[in-house]
């Protein structure tokens, strides 16, 4: 029923619940899962950090390990999966990818995907999406 599914995820256990729900649906439809994780670049690194290491301490490396973890679970279930890392706000990242891949479903956890952000990501996604939205109960 949903062949192009976008799920937003971070490194939280609740995000894994949302990803699993998305995997279930894509497994059924034999479609493609797109896992999106967003990061905010760190500013103001101490000047003592040498340039060649600045990249490794920034959260984009964390985001890649998060994506690797989630895509690996999808592959274990035999689900076709693509990873997308995006700089910026999580809700915007999910929309951007959903538009880009012409998603028919966006899956988000009911709890904020990024605990440091105060505004609710599922709320923002639910209001802006032009496709179906599954808010997975994760708390």
């Amino acid at each position: 029923m949903f062949r192009t599914v976008v799920v937003g995820a971070d490194d939280s256990p609740t995000a894994a619940v949302a990803v699993d729900a998305a995997i279930d649906l894509v497994e059924q439809s034999q479609g493609t899962l797109h896992v999106v994780s967003a990061y905010t670049p760190v500013s103001g690194l101490p000047s003592s950090v040498p340039d060649e290491f600045r990249g490794t301490v920034q959260p984009d490396s964390l985001v890649r390990s998060v994506l690797d973890k989630h895509t690996a679970r999808a592959r274990l279930r035999g689900v076709s999966v693509e990873a997308h890392d995006r700089r910026g706000a999580p809700a915007d990242a999910v929309h951007e990818v959903a538009d880009q891949v012409d998603a028919d479903l966006v899956v988000v956890g009911s709890k904020g995907m990024n605990r440091r952000v105060l505004s609710s990501i599922p709320n923002s996604v639910a209001h802006q999406a032009s496709c179906a939205v599954l808010i997975v109960k994760t708390d």
Partner: protein
């Protein structure tokens, strides 16, 4: 995957569209579909209907016809369903049926999720915020 699915319906075309997709979803999941409609009791005209019957005659009949039609559609698709008519606010009706039936998913159309209704409140918005289970919001507008 989802064994107990609640879907909210009314007699609008957008609700019908959401309902059809909910049936597809229940079929795929192999779950039972709980079809919920909420109606506002409104007095019917006709001098000869005694006051104590106006409420029941007016809207229960319409709700029952709607629910029966939709349950027939579900059953034609091989989906097991149960119907629930409520006089509560639509969002509250969906959530209370979902709680009672231990639902793992509520399906609603996205009517009122964008534009002015977003500020004023809408059924999908209330459901998304209050539900104790997962919520699927389908695009119908």
């Amino acid at each position: 995957m989802y064994s107990s699915i609640v879907v909210g319906v009314d007699d609008s075309p957008t609700a019908r569209a959401a309902f059809k997709r909910a049936v597809e979803f229940a079929k795929m999941s192999g779950g039972t579909l709980h079809i919920v409609t909420a109606y506002k009791p409104h007095p019917i005209s006709g001098e000869d209907v005694p006051d104590e019957f106006r409420y029941a005659v007016a809207s229960t009949g319409e709700a029952d016809v709607l629910l029966r039609t939709l349950a027939d559609h579900a059953s034609a698709e091989g989906v097991k369903s149960e119907v629930h008519a409520a006089t509560a606010d639509p969002a509250d009706a969906l959530i209370s049926v979902a709680d009672r039936e231990d639902a793992d998913l509520i399906v609603v159309g996205n009517k009122g999720m964008k534009g002015a209704r977003r500020v004023l409140g809408s059924v999908p918005n209330s459901v998304a915020h209050k539900a104790n289970c997962s919520v699927l919001i389908l695009p119908t507008t």
